[in-house]
């Protein structure tokens, strides 16, 4: 019952804002904030249940939606440790970001529209989290795509914003196409959409490994799209055209994590297909490294954080791929805190300086004390400095990669940790210290914005302790318990921890050496690699000029040729001809003479009697 309430309160809020309180801006924001806070309060109860009993049984509630022979689709909710964790992350981070938005979006036109879309997003995201079957998760999967589209295109009068919204939506569609195919493959093999039933069938065995492999890869396509993995990563940086709270909530903390959540949800599937896991791991690792390198060469504060998000998502996906389901979910949780914090703090900086270019900032730490402090705390967490939350979660992933003998991926992970530490240091020093390059008189944001920052900063610092390997029960024992896919326990590997700490310190040191000066522009800008990274390795250009211009238009030309020469002649004109000729024949029967009709009727009676009465 509670789960249904949690699911539908944001929808009610969205409808209410759209139809009733649209004109009263303040009321709209209160409705939206109230809805998400209420969701958070309601989800405290399941969280406490979970904390009391780590081995709780999943609570499933559902009712039939489509019930015809051979197809049973239900609408239902599933409360198990995984969904309760996500429930906590989404509603808690969502509440803080909603409150922050009240200050950040102040004075924007379309204030009510913003909050209606935010509520719609929370509804869709909770739908994904609470879904108990694939069809439902797919519906809400598309709904978060829709709300993401609406929010990226919030400033729709800017062409770049509406283009980014379209890009995000269309790129996601590519992945979702694979996702729905995967659902169908899985349905064909198991005959059900329900997660728990599918898990039972998988455990029993009997499904050929090739089928599982195909289904797993196709479902991974959905995660690639939503979590912006290579090669569909291009939409996420552009999505930064949306307002900053949107970037924080949707494109850092929750929606992009949905892909990782999906992998965790279907972890058993991957458990039975090690080959698919390898693919997942390598795509994740490659994305992490690629995004981290690109992040070094970006000058837009939000884009740097966006690429660091991409990199983190790659990290999580890599964790899923090497079998660390709990490690991935743990990283997802801590990442939600510190990345939301980074975005919100960046938003606060933008709010104060009215620019997003870090080379037009600098030396604002004295003016923006709270924002600066929280931003630095978030950066330290992101970089993975001991004992911040990022350290624990990253360490867990690296440990699994190491202990499962994925040495190549482990190396990539270490490399990413180094680069991350470097670009976070660069971001902090260029933005907050050095020479002041800003215009105007920046002042600290109102407390409605800084209080959420402080709360998030607190969690960014301490959330990692929940996953410390030597406390019992820790994060992993709650999440891994009933889900058999991930390895529950990871020891603490001194070598891994030491190495990661060393490279992080090296990264920070390098960043300090390069950027802790009075700089006017980036000292690395002459570098070839820098230029490559600055232009995002020309992925957008590649897609535009090769995929769209050559492949897509080529297919278009073939289709056009086929249409003009075959479809139109045979189908369009053919059917018209057929209809006309049939009409000519059938017209003869419509004589208007009563007795013709009567004759046909009697003849029909004769035939009917002959067939059913006599024969």
């Amino acid at each position: 019952m509670v789960s249904w309430l949690i699911l539908f309160i944001p929808l009610i809020a969205a409808v209410l804002i759209t139809f009733v309180t649209r004109k009263q801006k303040d009321l709209s924001s209160y409705v939206s904030i109230g809805a998400v806070v209420l969701c958070f309060i309601l989800s405290i109860d399941p969280i406490l249940t979970l904390l009391k009993d780590p081995h709780m049984k999943p609570v499933e509630q559902g009712f039939s939606w489509i019930n015809i022979p051979g197809l049973h689709v239900e609408i239902g909710t599933l409360l198990d440790p995984l969904s309760i964790l996500m429930l906590f992350v989404v509603t808690f981070v969502g509440s803080l970001i909603h409150i922050y938005s009240r200050g950040y979006m102040h004075g924007e036109h379309g204030y009510s529209r913003f909050f209606a879309c935010m509520s719609l997003f929370i509804f869709s995201m909770l739908g994904i989290v609470l879904a108990n079957n694939f069809i439902q998760i797919y519906i809400f999967w598309e709904l978060v795509g829709l709300s993401s589209y609406l929010l990226i295109g919030y400033y729709f009068e800017k062409p770049s914003a509406s283009d980014a919204a379209k890009k995000a939506f269309l790129v996601n569609r590519v992945g979702d196409f694979g996702f729905i195919l995967g659902i169908f493959v899985l349905f064909q093999a198991t005959g059900t959409f329900n997660f728990i039933e599918i898990n039972h069938i998988l455990e029993k065995g009997g499904i050929p490994e090739s089928t599982i492999y195909i289904a797993a890869l196709l479902i991974f396509c959905g995660a690639i799209g939503k979590s912006a993995q290579f090669p569909l990563h291009v939409w996420l940086p552009d999505a930064m055209e949306g307002p900053t709270p949107v970037s924080a909530l949707i494109h850092a903390a929750t929606m992009v994590a949905a892909g990782v959540y999906l992998l965790a949800r279907t972890s058993l599937l991957y458990h039975f297909s090690p080959d698919a896991m390898e693919v997942v791991a390598y795509i994740g690792g490659f994305t992490a490294l690629l995004a981290a390198v690109i992040a070094v060469a970006q000058n837009d504060i939000k884009r740097v954080i966006a690429y660091s998000t991409l990199s983190s998502l790659g990290y999580m996906v890599m964790a899923m791929g090497v079998g660390g389901m709990t490690a991935g979910m743990f990283y997802l949780t801590t990442h939600a805190f510190f990345k939301a914090l980074l975005f919100l703090a960046a938003g606060s900086v933008i709010h104060a300086l009215h620019t997003q270019d870090i080379w037009e900032m600098g030396d604002v730490f004295k003016k923006l004390k709270t924002t600066g402090t929280t931003f630095i705390l978030g950066s330290l967490a992101m970089a993975g400095v001991f004992p911040f939350s990022g350290f624990w979660s990253k360490d867990e992933i690296l440990t699994i990669a190491f202990t499962s003998h994925h040495y190549f991926l482990f190396t990539i992970g270490i490399l990413v940790a180094f680069v991350s530490a470097f670009f976070m240091t660069r971001l902090v020093f260029v933005t907050f210290f050095g020479k002041g390059r800003y215009h105007g008189h920046p002042h600290e944001s109102p407390s409605v914005m800084t209080v959420p920052l402080v709360i998030l900063a607190f969690f960014a610092v301490v959330a990692g302790f929940a996953g410390m390997p030597w406390i019992e029960p820790n994060f992993g024992s709650y999440i891994a318990g009933p889900l058999h896919g991930g390895h529950g326990e990871h020891g603490f590997n001194l070598f891994v921890a030491g190495l990661s700490t060393a490279v992080v310190i090296a990264g920070i040191a390098l960043g300090y050496i390069v950027y802790c000066k009075e700089l006017k522009s980036d000292p690395l800008a002459k570098n070839v690699l820098y230029n490559l990274a600055h232009n995002k390795f020309y992925f957008d250009e590649f897609y535009d000029n090769i995929i769209v211009a050559k492949v897509y238009n080529g297919i278009g030309r073939i289709c056009n040729f086929a249409e003009v020469n075959f479809i139109i002649i045979f189908f369009v004109n053919g059917f018209a001809y057929l209809t006309r000729e049939t009409g000519k024949v059938l017209r003869l029967t419509t004589t208007g003479k009563l007795q013709h009709y009567a004759l046909v009727m009697v003849a029909g009676v004769v035939v009917l009697v002959l067939f059913f009465g006599v024969l």
Binding site: T590, G592, Q595
Partner: protein, 100 residues
Amino acid sequence: MITLSHYLILSLILFSIGIAGVLLRRNIIIVLMSLELMFNSINISLAAFSHFLQSMTGRIFVVFTITVAAAEVAVGLAILVAVYRQRKTVYIEELDEMKH
């Protein structure tokens, strides 16, 4: 001894004569009369079944059929008179505007 078959065969032939009238004649009044013949043949078979099955249902039904037939004739002839006033014809063939 008269059997049910006697009545049914009589009914069948009478019904067929009615149908033949409907199909063959052009005069709409004769067509309506043929319809009455068909009604009567059905009444005969209903009454015959009722009699040989020792039940009352068929007889009650005949009462209803006769009533409906009376109503039908009244309305049918009224329509016929109305049509005749308009079109000055009683030939079915000439009443074929409905196809347009």
